[in-house]
Amino acid sequence: MTPNPTPRPGLFHRLVERTGPVLRFEIDGVPAEGRAGDHLLTAILLARPDLRRFEFAETTRSGFCLMGACQDCWVDLADGRRLRACSTLLEEGMHVLVEGRARA
């Protein structure tokens, strides 16, 4: 659960600026910001280079197909929910766990 002391830059790069409201959320307890209209996957990958740990190796994943087919972007929320990040809209107050629920 230790927050990353030196956050690595995000993977995604916003090309089209948004005018909608800012949505605040958290990744492993660290505040982050997205915009209305962002998918959860977009918001996470604008903030960091990956979005979940891979269960069967010491590596991470960032999703793959972005169309709800490959199932590679399921993430944990602190409230226990599991969400497919590419097809879920970011909501104010979401708390995503990337490092938090490590594998057994």
């Binding site: 269960e55 069967f56 199932q71 399921w74 226990g80 929910r81 599991r82 629920r101 594998r103 057994a104």
Partner: protein
């Protein structure tokens, strides 16, 4: 006519019991042909829950199950691959006072067969398994039971049999079996097998083989309905069952939680089955009540298959009553996985020695004589509509 094989023993069916029999017979130097209509280990041997369980078995089955249990400790070495057997223990949960009494009675009976079970009070159960639902009043623990990967056991036995020189023929549906006076003739497309002895271990198809020798049995198809979740952090540390058998759940080390729910759809004509969505939904609900910690889990796959069910839910094991040199082993009624390796040994004993030290009298093929044509619903059945796995 196509190919012809002459062997000491022909085995109809390619499940775990059949292939384990082939292994045991090869050890005795007999020549063997295994004839499997689809793929070895792909029937009931491969699609079951994966419970390696003595607890909860019919007391008549328990001696066989006791004998089978130590074999599992040596399977990896025998087969040369990991069958993922782990003695996680099996816990059977009581959800009512009547369940508790039932478990206590069973504990005493099982002890007489040499199986040590430990009764646990509600507090002890919840202390060990804090993730269980509220309704659990107590449980019985069988610490030596466990689980394994059913998809790999049967095929591994088939390969071992092949390595030891058995003729293992897949995609070889037996069309006819007959006793000619000097031995058996088994025919399949493009193949005729002549054998001195015959084993009927064809699972759901065994009824037809038995009937060919005038031994009609009330065998009906049984299809499990299994579900598995995506991988989750490991927490279901025991294999779990309940009194009544309507919930059974285990978690593999990789994290997937395997559980069952009711029965699948059967395609009698093709001998296939598919999962039944309504049954899956029921299984999800019931399992969630017992293991609320699965609340956020997602099911990624369901599956089914075909086993043979006897009216009294115990198998047919033993010599034919009509035909010399014929041995039956089928009708495991949804819980043959743990028995498979020992059934192979028993088949071998019956063929080589003419007798087995294991008590198989309760499994005589003629125990339903006169009932063979009765509809399954009219035949005597156990107290529940669920099959314990």
């Amino acid at each position: 006519m196509g190919e012809r094989l002459d062997v000491d023993v022909a085995i109809v069916g390619g499940g775990t019991a059949a292939c384990a029999a082939a292994v045991a017979l090869r050890r005795h130097g007999l020549t063997v042909a295994v004839l499997e209509k689809r793929r070895c280990g792909a029937g009931a041997s491969g699609v079951n829950f994966g419970g390696v369980r003595q607890q909860g078995r019919d007391l008549r089955e328990l001696p066989l199950s006791r004998r089978a249990r130590p074999l599992w400790d040596g399977l990896n070495a025998l087969l040369g691959e990991d069958v993922e057997f782990e003695a996680t223990g099996h816990i059977k949960l009581a959800r009512s006072e009547a369940d508790l009494e039932f478990l206590e009675r069973y504990r005493i009976d099982a002890a007489a067969c040499g199986l040590e079970l430990t009764m646990m009070g509600a507090d002890a159960v919840h202390a060990e398994l804090p993730w269980l639902g509220e309704k659990v009043l107590g449980a019985s623990l069988s610490p030596t039971d466990g689980q394994a990967n059913p998809r790999v056991v049967g095929p591994a036995f088939a390969r071992l049999a092949r390595r030891m020189g058995a003729e293992v023929r897949e995609h070889t549906p037996v069309e006819a079996v007959a006793h000619t006076g000097s031995g058996f003739v088994v025919t399949a497309p493009g193949l005729e097998v002549r054998a001195r002895r015959l084993v009927n271990a064809a699972g759901a198809g065994s009824g037809l083989v038995a009937a060919s020798f005038g031994e009609a049995v009330p065998l009906t198809p049984l299809s499990p309905n299994m579900l598995v979740t995506e991988p989750m952090p490991y927490f279901v540390s025991r294999s779990i069952g309940v009194c009544g058998g309507d919930v059974y759940v285990r978690q593999v080390r990789r994290g997937n939680v395997v559980f069952g729910g009711g029965g699948g759809w059967q395609d009698h004509e093709r001998g296939l089955a598919r999962p039944n969505d309504a049954e899956s939904l029921g299984g999800m609900k019931r399992t969630l009540q017992v293991v609320p910690g699965l609340a956020h889990a997602r099911v990624i796959r369901t599956w089914s298959g075909v086993d043979g069910q006897m009216p009294d839910a115990i198998p047919v094991i033993g010599p034919s009553r009509t035909t010399p040199d014929l041995v039956h082993a089928f009708g495991f009624s949804g819980h043959g996985f743990q028995l498979g390796p020992v059934i192979g040994e028993i088949i071998c004993e019956l063929l080589v020695d003419g007798a087995t030290p294991s008590p198989i009298e309760p499994f005589a093929i003629d125990r339903f004589d006169g009932l063979a044509s009765a509809a399954p619903a009219d035949a005597p059945v156990g107290g529940s509509t669920h099959t314990e796995h």
